[in-house]
Symmetry: D2
Subunit: 119 residues, 4 copies
């Protein structure tokens, strides 16, 4: 975990492959089951902010740890789903940022939360 | 995108910081707004599998591309939220895998989709 | 609960108003908080079907009861949100069915799960 | 829609049964597909509040209509799922309110958004 190469998602992908193989869980990891799991875990993450919108500095270490694990749950299923579809997450992310830059030109979207269809 | 170091999430984090700064969107990126956005994008991803659970090989290139961008949308907000909380996603992911390994020992969870509380 | 008039949603709406007023919870029931709560509770409902798609007859009484309460959680926040917006849920539901009937004409949608944009 | 008896959910349930039967859609309406659909539609509802938390009075008629239809979408799938499980939604709702009243006694929960496990 502390080595330089572990800073990329392929280490997570490999750990998750081993984890599933050891438990014979590949059978449960269909595309749809993984997509449903991402959504379920996202709901648990959102529950941490159900009634309030704290600043980072308002959160206790315990709260941040709990949020951190909810974030990790979403990430793990996302990495698993990407693996099943042979998608490179980082490349896909950069492509999507480039598409968003086209949809939200700086001059028209500056300071606005409106959707691109309304700009 | 083609360089070796871009294979890690810090390149996405940095691009997203620039993207938000250029548009003066930091004001919208509260913890809660980002958590809500992750959940919303997860729903759009799940919509791709609303009625069926296709194998990867059943999907057209166009369908995979659409799914790929939905996955990227979830990832980008996840990277943004982690950045706001100063969370290293890959490290958090490895920690969560270790916790899950404790909750789901191989001998008791093998071939079962039951929750750890029921094992 | 057993009376004829309780079979409509206005009895739930009124109970929820009282519940919130007694606890001074109106302050938390903003439109957005209620929408987020609907989404969070929907995730908990979906969690009951994370890995399997059981037939009703496969479920134990205990499982049905658990699902029943998750469904109720979604409903209660939905009734609350509709109340805040002065929306009659049943009328809105019938209107939406009529709109869906236009989007999904019987002859073109019969036996197909495709979205109306692809019919 | 204008008659007295239409004010209850059984009219929606019956319309949805007819709608599905005419289109031969019962095959798609498994418990899990309906639960996933509720979650997907909840995400679309939440998207209306992705960045802001408007007061009802801030919304245009057009915005309220759009929100109204998103609420109806969630409701329709909820009615369908309850029908499949032979659940009376209004009765389940009242039961859940009674359970919540036990979990959140007025004196301890007044003015607080804390979860019952933390009260």
């Amino acid at each position: 975990m502390a080595t330089a190469e572990s800073n990329d998602l392929s280490s997570l992908r490999d750990s998750l492959r081993r984890f599933a193989a050891e438990r014979d869980w590949e059978q449960f990891h269909s595309l749809r089951n993984l997509a449903a799991s991402i959504s379920i875990e996202s709901g648990e993450l959102l529950e941490r902010f159900q009634w309030t919108d704290p600043a980072s500095s308002d959160l206790t270490d315990e709260e941040i740890q709990a949020i951190r694990y909810e974030i990790a749950d979403v990430l793990l299923y996302l990495v698993r789903l990407a693996d099943k579809l042979d998608i490179d997450l980082v490349t896909a992310g950069h492509e999507k940022i480039a598409l968003n830059a086209d949809k939200y030109p700086v001059d028209r979207s500056r300071g606005s939360s409106r959707k691109y269809t309304e700009l």
